[in-house]
């Protein structure tokens, strides 16, 4: 049996950004919000309500899990979250799907691919 992640795709923009924010390192909620703003260059701003609605769903699907605070001296209200293996694979599948969409769009719109920095 092979892993079929298609039931979880496509991801909503909020879910995609949250998973992406956690792909690099474990973060607390506010850290996720800041990382999402940074990744989108301020174009996508996630409010705490939207963030925790989606985090709850992702935790129920075992794509994200809570992880201990890196330092016990931190504010006890800060809780840290991390990507599980399933979350990482789902994110990879979504990126591959988006990549196909972007390639197709470039082809149809005849937009040149961005040149790689040499």
């Amino acid at each position: 049996m092979t892993e079929d992640l298609s039931p979880f795709l496509p991801l909503s923009p909020a879910t995609l950004h949250i998973l992406l924010a956690l792909a690099g390192e474990d973060r607390h909620g506010y850290g996720i919000m800041q990382e999402v703003a940074r990744q989108s260059e301020g174009q996508y701003k996630l409010g705490p309500g939207t963030l925790y609605d989606n985090l709850e769903k992702l935790m129920n699907l075992a794509m994200v899990e809570e992880t201990p605070r890196p330092s016990p001296n931190e504010d006890s209200r800060r809780r840290y979250y991390r990507l599980t293996g399933l979350g990482r694979r789902t994110l990879s599948a979504e990126i591959a799907r988006l990549d196909t969409v972007v390639r197709e769009a470039r082809l149809r719109l005849r937009v040149p691919s961005p040149r790689r920095a040499s």
């Binding site: 049996m1 506010y30 705490p48 939207t50 075992a62």
Partner: protein, 231 residues
């Protein structure tokens, strides 16, 4: 003043969500209020609406309140477990479910479940993921194979009725049919393995059986990480 309003909005969230996230949301408010308290209030309000609207009990009660007696009847029909339903209730319930109206039971099954399988074949940890896309269900089941590796397969013929769940998974030479009930927050049931005709036994012959029990994967708990077979 605005902080008090925001705190009140958080207090109005469903208890489970509030206990898990409200303190952290308030901390974020304290960190970011200067950047736009009004947008945080709006976000909190929409979160409140979403949280209650996606709770099964809320959907049921909203249906009951809006439609008066007719909707109250719907509420009662939806709340009666399938095993206890007289035939008349089942006949009322089926067209309601077919109409795509939100059902208490379907929402309760969504998500990730972790448990154990005991069978005449492989036994060990299992993980189930169920997703409701409106009228239909999709999902995956992960079982530990005899090689000790977690193998995943797509669920087929998923049926959710009241507290009852049934689905089938293809596993090599056999079809695995899982039938179970949701009781006191746990999914328990039986497994029947039948040959799919690929090898030896004729199609449909029973080749194994077992029992299984699963609980909802809790936030922070470690789900078994399914791995792909190394070939």
């Amino acid at each position: 003043m605005i902080r008090s309003i925001y705190r009140s909005i958080l207090r109005l969230h469903p208890p489970g969500f509030r206990q898990q996230f409200a303190e952290e949301m308030l901390w974020i408010y304290d960190e970011t209020a200067g950047a736009g308290a009004v947008s945080l209030l709006t976000d909190g309000f929409f979160s409140l609406v979403r949280q209650w609207m996606t709770r099964p009990a809320t959907l049921t009660l909203a249906a009951a309140g809006c439609g008066g007696a007719m909707h109250m009847a719907l509420f009662l029909v939806m709340m009666i477990p399938v095993v206890n339903q007289p035939p008349a209730v089942i006949y009322v319930r089926r067209p309601i479910l077919a109409s795509g109206m939100p059902d208490v039971s379907t929402v309760r099954f969504s998500g990730s479940w972790i448990g154990t399988l005991h069978s005449t074949g492989p036994s060990g940890p299992m993980q189930l993921m169920l997703l409701n896309n409106g009228a239909s269900w999709t999902g995956r089941l992960y079982l530990q194979g005899q090689d000790g590796v977690m193998h995943g397969g797509a669920l087929e013929e998923i049926r959710v009725e009241g507290d009852a769940l049934r689905f089938r998974v293809e596993a090599g030479d056999a079809d695995l049919t899982f039938s179970g009930q949701l009781q006191q927050g746990k999914l328990t049931g039986i497994l029947e393995a039948t040959a799919n005709g690929a090898r030896f036994a004729p199609r449909g012959r029973k080749v194994g059986e077992g029992t299984w029990v699963m609980a909802r994967a809790q936030a922070g708990s470690r789900a078994p990480e399914p791995r792909q077979r190394q070939s």
